[in-house]
């Protein structure tokens, strides 16, 4: 059996808290752990923040479409994030080289994508027309 959740977000950071509540409810219905909920919310937060901050070159309102599917059989959750922003493939971002550096040498920022890659099992990127489509999967036992 598969359960679905679709969230239509506007390009406004305040939308992240609203989406996190919806994800939390969905995960609880599917009996996923608090840690799973936390990492999923973090993933969404980091990726959508990037899209909102850097994805759009105008000041217009844009829609970011989130589709979440949980497969009971596979015990696997899939999250797809779709936006009409500029081309951005997070897979091209290499691991930051400052993780082990002392504080003076640590730049401010640049950790979001690194956290996402650590917390999900699989990331797939596709540019379809003028849209970025990012598909992430995560097993419940991870």
């Amino acid at each position: 059996m598969e359960n679905n959740l679709v969230i239509k977000m506007k390009n406004d950071l305040a939308e992240i808290s609203r989406s996190n509540v919806l994800i939390e409810e969905f995960c609880e219905e599917n009996k996923l752990s608090n840690k799973f909920i936390f990492t999923l919310n973090l993933t969404l937060d980091e990726l959508v923040t990037n899209i909102i901050s850097y994805g759009f070159e105008d000041d217009e309102e844009h829609e970011i479409l989130i589709s979440i599917t949980f497969s009971n059989e596979k015990q696997e959750l899939t999250m797809q994030i779709e936006d009409e922003g500029v081309y951005f493939n997070p897979l091209n971002i290499s691991k930051p080289n400052h993780i082990d550096k002392p504080m003076e040498k640590k730049p401010i920022g640049g950790l979001g994508i690194h956290l996402v890659k650590k917390f999900v099992d699989n990331v797939h990127y596709e540019r379809r027309g003028n849209r970025n489509i990012l598909t992430l999967t995560k097993k419940t036992n991870n």
Partner: protein, 111 residues
């Protein structure tokens, strides 16, 4: 997100309540930076009521730590939930912050 302040000796204790996401991290930055600029205390950030942190929250803490370092003051964190601690580990932040088990242990670090 809400920050409660309490002063014990020369330590300013900041209890962060709620979530530190991209949206609320800038709010924390706006509250925290003037406190550091004006104040002359060491700072203890109590994480016991913090439910969530993203890289935006880490960014604000790193900014604060750099500022405190320049003033030759200490900033210590305490009572961190397990999954928040994991975010700190993955980000390499466990090596730049002193993270104490609880408030009592943290206060000893300031002595």
């Amino acid at each position: 997100m809400e920050i409660k302040q309490e002063k014990k000796g020369n330590v300013l204790i900041l209890n962060i309540i709620g979530r530190l996401d991209s949206n609320t991290a800038s709010q924390m930055e706006n509250e925290l930076m003037p406190l550091i600029d004006k104040g002359d205390d060491n700072i203890l950030v109590d994480f016991s009521n913090l439910d969530y942190i993203s890289s935006a929250g880490l960014r604000t803490l790193l900014l604060a730590a750099k500022k405190m370092d320049k003033k030759d003051k200490k900033i210590i964190l305490c009572s961190m939930k397990e999954f928040i601690h994991e975010v700190f580990e993955i980000s390499g932040f466990t090596s730049i912050f002193t993270i104490a088990e609880n408030e009592d242990e943290a206060m000893k670090e300031f002595e």
